[in-house]
């Protein structure tokens, strides 16, 4: 059995079962965040895709891939967004290398 089942995306609403009022608040927030605002829906879908890849959520990746397509993005644009997210993630690791340097310097002559 896989820990991730594709069908579970359609069952998302079941998470409301034991605490419906919190899930309702989440849905309202989640929906409002994706509405057209100072950023376009397409920009928000691309941000969503980048974050989805970063948090490595297969449900979010599928959802925001579709959302990006349905807001007119193409694979070149989506891949750029994915690269940027990945590069930031890589850079975040790399910048911590300075801590290693600092630690090294502290104990070294």
């Amino acid at each position: 059995m896989s820990y991730y089942n594709e069908e579970d995306l359609g069952r998302f609403g079941e998470i409301a079962k034991h605490k419906p009022e919190l899930f309702e608040k989440f849905l309202a927030w989640y929906g409002a965040c994706q509405e057209e605002g100072a950023l376009s829906k397409r920009e928000k879908a691309l941000i969503g895709l980048a974050v989805a890849v970063t948090v490595q959520c297969p449900y979010c990746i599928e959802a925001f891939t579709n959302s990006s397509l349905e807001n007119g993005s193409n694979m070149e644009q989506m891949t750029e967004a994915i690269h940027l997210a990945s590069a930031i993630r890589g850079g975040a690791s790399l910048i911590h290398g300075i801590q290693s340097h600092n630690a090294h310097d502290k104990v070294s002559m």
Binding site: G10, K41, R42, N66, L69, N71, G72, N74, E76
Partner: protein
């Protein structure tokens, strides 16, 4: 109104997509009726120089079904005798049938606005190179499919090399004034290159205008977003790619009641190459005629009996009511 008996199948399978919820259930029991006949949409046949993956007509170069002069004359008679403001000529590639230019020039004499759904590449076929000038001379409104402003998506759907030819064709249309002169309207059609819904029309239109202008110097008037209808060749693709279930769920979940008022079946009547009538081009391809007590052929056309007819529906109709809705003129409502 639920679909009646249909003889056609898709490789032994139903020609209708399998939906978790019926269209009529989504309508909530409301009766769908025509409220006018503003558009006579005539599908002059299945002959086409292309064989696009999403084609709801199953059109292609080997198809031989084309409209005869007799049926065209019946359509012209109906235009002359009734107050129908627009003739919308489609196919296949309508420009390829022998009587296409006769149909257009005679139709213009009736005073109707004439729209031709022109696939762009046909103007590079033998004896068709003067199509831009012919369209311009008759002030035809040209509607052409260009699923995306990049080659990969366009060729994946419409065939290898189609994008490059389409760009050349658009330049030729621009050269005679289409998309530039106010009387020469050039509208493009976006449709998704896969199992997803179209983007908001105004947003993607702005993208197309910017990209086509900066990349190729091309201008056009409007972009229509059209949802892929889950029938015919596109349904075959959905099934082969195992997307039928998820696509139909997507259409059901995106059902938008605000689209119902603007559905094209409510102000359009569709004629097939033999003269049979349908509520739309999609019903036509499913062999769905009009409701039983309505006139069934163009020869029997009776405005009074047709303009409040009950619309024949099926699960495929969910394609016209999803999101911002879909019609031959693009979106019909605000998206959800």
């Amino acid at each position: 109104m639920i679909q009646t008996a249909v003889q056609i199948t898709r490789g032994g399978r139903s020609p209708f997509p399998k939906s978790p919820v019926s269209f009529d259930d989504k309508l909530g029991g409301a009766e769908l009726r025509a409220k006018a006949i503003d558009v006579l949409q005539v599908n002059v046949g299945k002959l086409c120089n292309q064989a696009c993956k999403h084609c709801h007509v199953d059109a292609g170069p080997k198809r031989t079904e084309i409209m005869t002069r007799d049926v065209i004359d019946e359509c012209l008679r109906v235009l002359r005798e009734n107050k129908i403001s627009t003739l919308d000529i489609t196919g296949g590639a309508p420009d390829m049938i022998p009587d296409f230019r006769y149909f257009v020039t005679e139709a213009k004499k009736t005073g109707a606005k004439v729209i031709v759904r022109h696939n762009l590449t046909v103007m590079f076929e033998e004896n068709q190179t003067d199509l831009p000038e012919f369209f311009a001379a008759n002030q035809i409104e040209v509607v052409s499919s260009l699923p995306y402003f990049l080659p990969q998506q366009t060729d994946a759907q419409r065939g290898r090399g189609v994008f490059e030819k389409s760009i050349e064709a658009l330049k030729k249309l621009n050269a005679v004034g289409y998309g530039i002169n106010e009387n020469l309207i050039l509208n493009l059609v976006y449709n998704p290159t896969g199992a997803f819904l179209p983007p908001p029309q105004t947003a993607i239109e702005a993208d197309f205008k910017r990209e086509l202008k900066t990349r190729y110097g091309i201008e056009f008037n409007n972009l229509f977003t059209i949802t892929n209808m889950p029938i015919a060749r596109y349904l075959d693709w959905l099934r082969r790619s195992k997307n039928e279930e998820s696509y139909m769920r997507k259409l059901v979940n995106a059902f938008n009641p605000a689209t119902v008022d603007g559905l094209m079946c409510r102000n359009l009547i569709s004629v097939d190459w033999t003269g049979n009538l349908s509520d739309c081009d999609f019903n036509q391809m499913l062999n769905l005629g009009l409701e039983n007590n309505a006139p069934q052929t163009i020869a029997e056309f009776d405005f009074g009996k047709l303009n409040a007819r009950r619309i024949v529906t099926g699960s495929h109709c969910l394609g016209c009511t999803a999101g911002a809705g879909s019609s031959c003129g693009g979106a019909v409502a605000e998206g959800t």
